[in-house]
């Protein structure tokens, strides 16, 4: 038993070391990389992956395929910017305000919509996004089609305003990590299990005492609030927002990392985002002058290829590949599942006593 415990300890240590190393690399990148362009790509990866994780809670975990996440993000950005420009409030407080507003709006709007299943829910999410965008274009309070700019000024943490990209890089990294941990927590909680049960069979979930509407509302509110946080980050980073932020194409773009990476996994959007966004940005920078649209074309081809040949996404493919077996056994020295379970059980019993 002691030997088995030791094996498990070594495995956990190795796992922690690998994860720590990856994190360290991301922390050190701005120290070595000085090019604002490369840093910008990383910031883009961070906030798009976060948005994709927000979608994944609703789409991947709950099975409610929303195509309106750009609208939540845009609404969050608008709520923050309006509060800042009209009342001069602190941006960090405005972020909380934006998240609360978007959470409330999403909850209220989607409460009657959850009787709609499957494709109908997707249609309503698209219609909601477009309606919101049209409303903003027609409303002088929201600045119509010309958008809202945030004030420029000295660098300060209090106003979350910097000339350099490095602070945004770190805040973005913290945001992506925080949201990842939150999603991981949700996945392992009662709510996560309830959501996945709803995804597999809603009637069965209701039969065993899960209230589908309640859990779906929780998922949509959390998802929308995270999207609003991304909206706040985007607005603070770009310092200008307009209704173009909420077009249908942006919603689709926010889903792609999750589907390409593997929508069934919390890590899916991160993997998809880390692979697809730098690739897309590279193509955009290199070819968009001669061939506009080439980066989205590549995105589309990748999406179709993944769906056609690897329906579970890149991560789903990795989970069943020899590469993972090799890394697990050789690098991490992962003990067999039996040993892992035995040790975990022993630990559990010890805690019980």
């Amino acid at each position: 038993m002691a030997e088995k415990k030791r094996a498990v300890r070594i495995y956990h240590r190795n796992l922690a070391m690998v994860l720590g190393l990856i994190l360290l690399v991301f922390i050190l990148i701005p120290v070595f990389v000085k090019s604002p362009y490369v840093l910008n790509v990383f910031v883009l990866v961070f906030y798009m992956s976060t948005l994709s994780m927000a979608w994944n809670l609703l789409g991947g975990m709950t099975g409610q395929n929303s195509l309106g996440h750009a609208a939540y993000m845009g609404l969050g950005a608008y709520a923050c910017c309006l509060l800042i420009t009209k009342t001069g409030a602190n941006p960090w407080l405005a972020a909380i305000f934006g998240m609360v507003v978007v959470g409330l709006v999403a909850g209220i709007i989607f409460y009657p919509c959850f009787i709609l299943k499957g494709p109908y829910f997707t249609l309503v999410s698209i219609a909601f996004g477009e309606a919101l965008r049209q409303f903003i274009i027609n409303s002088s309070f929201f600045g119509r089609a010309s958008g809202i700019g945030l004030p420029f000024g000295k660098d300060s943490w209090l106003d979350f305003r910097f000339g350099s990209k490095v602070p945004y890089y770190y805040v973005g990294l913290i945001m992506v990590l925080g949201v990842y941990l939150l999603m991981k927590k949700i996945e392992r909680s009662r709510m996560g299990y309830a959501l996945r049960t709803i995804r597999e069979d809603e009637d069965a979930a209701a039969a065993i005492g899960i209230n589908p509407t309640r859990y779906k509302i929780m998922a949509v509110v959390v998802s929308a609030m995270v999207a609003a946080l991304v909206g706040f980050f985007y607005a603070s980073y770009i310092r200008y927002i307009d209704p173009e932020l909420m077009v249908q194409a942006k919603s689709t773009e926010s889903v792609l990392p999750a589907v390409v990476g593997g929508a069934a996994y919390v890590e899916g959007p991160l993997v998809g985002g880390l692979i697809m966004i730098p690739l897309s940005e590279f193509l955009r920078a290199k070819y968009s002058a001669i061939l506009p649209g080439i980066n989205m074309l590549m995105y589309a081809v990748a999406l179709l290829a993944v769906i056609r040949f690897r329906p579970a996404g890149i991560l789903g493919w990795y989970m069943h590949s020899n590469v993972k077996t090799f890394i697990d056994t050789k690098l991490l020295r992962k003990p067999s599942v039996d040993v892992l379970e035995e040790v975990e059980l022993a630990q559990y019993h010890k805690e019980e006593v």
């Binding site: 395929n65 919509c113 494709p119 249609l123 049209q134 589907v259 649209g293 989205m296 769906i307 329906p311």
Partner: protein
């Protein structure tokens, strides 16, 4: 009064296109139970095909309609056979949804890469011809298009109602397992259906070119309106789709006339959400 009549006629002429798009979407949605999110892009492909035929071969846009229909039918059948049918087996609704979304991205950005983002128009000898009818004026291209699409709608209705293939399509849409049991080749029907839906979208695109600008995202608004038509008109109902399309066209022009043109999209989307939620609630209550 004459502005009101003119708005009615304009709404009617535009609504015909929404109907045609909605019918294609309706057939696909009815048979495969998937929403075809690239339906609008198919319309755009139809427009560009017409443009190529017109500019290279010098064909009249209305003579292009049958050619475009055949080409689009083949394209749709090919897409169904190579991409959608294999994914139907996985039963993953998310994947099927993003398959069509991905196809839409592929087509619109492919058009952007091939043709650039500039707006193109087809001009014919009769482009600017108007026909006066009492207080209203009817642009000739719109009138011809509307006539053609009425003929196509009636033909489609008759095809689905009376022909053997049409009956097979309806059988598969009602119960695909049952249809397979009685000896219908469902795979073939899927290919036929998707081809038919795409061909209808392509024809709508070809008919639009007479008076509409051609650009890579031209189909987007038509694509979503087709979905509205399906939902409002009722699943599997061709006359329902026709009426819903006309209703949508009239709603748009009426909002533009009485409120403001910039509000027409907003009102259309909000009406759609309300109709969908109310109808579904009624259906659930009735159970």
């Amino acid at each position: 009064m004459s502005t009101f009549l003119q708005a009615c006629v304009n709404g009617l002429l535009m609504g015909g296109f929404y109907s045609l798009m909605g019918m294609g979407q309706n057939v696909i949605f009815g048979v495969m139970k998937i929403v075809n999110f690239c339906h609008g892009e198919m319309l755009m492909v139809g427009m560009y095909l017409t443009y190529i035929l017109w500019s290279v071969c010098g064909l009249d846009p209305y003579l292009c309609v049958p050619i475009v229909a055949v080409l689009m039918f083949c394209l749709g059948g090919l897409i169904q056979h190579t991409l959608i049918t294999p994914s139907l087996g996985t039963k993953s609704f998310t994947n099927l949804l993003f398959l069509t979304v991905g196809l839409g991205l592929l087509l619109s950005n492919g058009a952007l890469v091939l043709f650039g983002s500039e707006y193109r128009t087809i001009t014919t000898a009769y482009s600017q011809t108007n026909i006066g009818l009492g207080p209203v004026t009817l642009p000739l291209p719109r009138l011809i298009s509307f006539g053609v699409l009425i003929v196509i709608s009636v033909a489609l209705f008759a095809f689905l109602k009376y022909s053997t293939t049409g009956k097979q399509i309806r059988a598969v849409s009602q119960n695909s397992v049952g249809a397979e049991v009685v000896g219908i080749n469902t795979k073939k029907i899927y290919i036929l259906t998707y081809g038919l839906g795409t061909a209808l979208a392509g024809v709508a695109g070809a008919l639009l070119t007479g008076f509409y600008t051609i650009f890579p995202t031209a189909g987007a608004s038509f694509g979503f309106r087709a979905l509205i038509v399906v939902v409002v008109g009722g699943l599997g109902s061709i006359p329902g789709a026709f009426l819903a399309g006309i209703f949508l066209g009239l709603l748009e022009t009426m909002v533009a006339l009485f409120i403001s043109p910039s509000y027409s999209d907003l009102i259309v989307f909000v009406t759609f959400i309300v109709i969908l939620v109310v109808r579904q609630t009624v259906i659930i209550r009735r159970k």
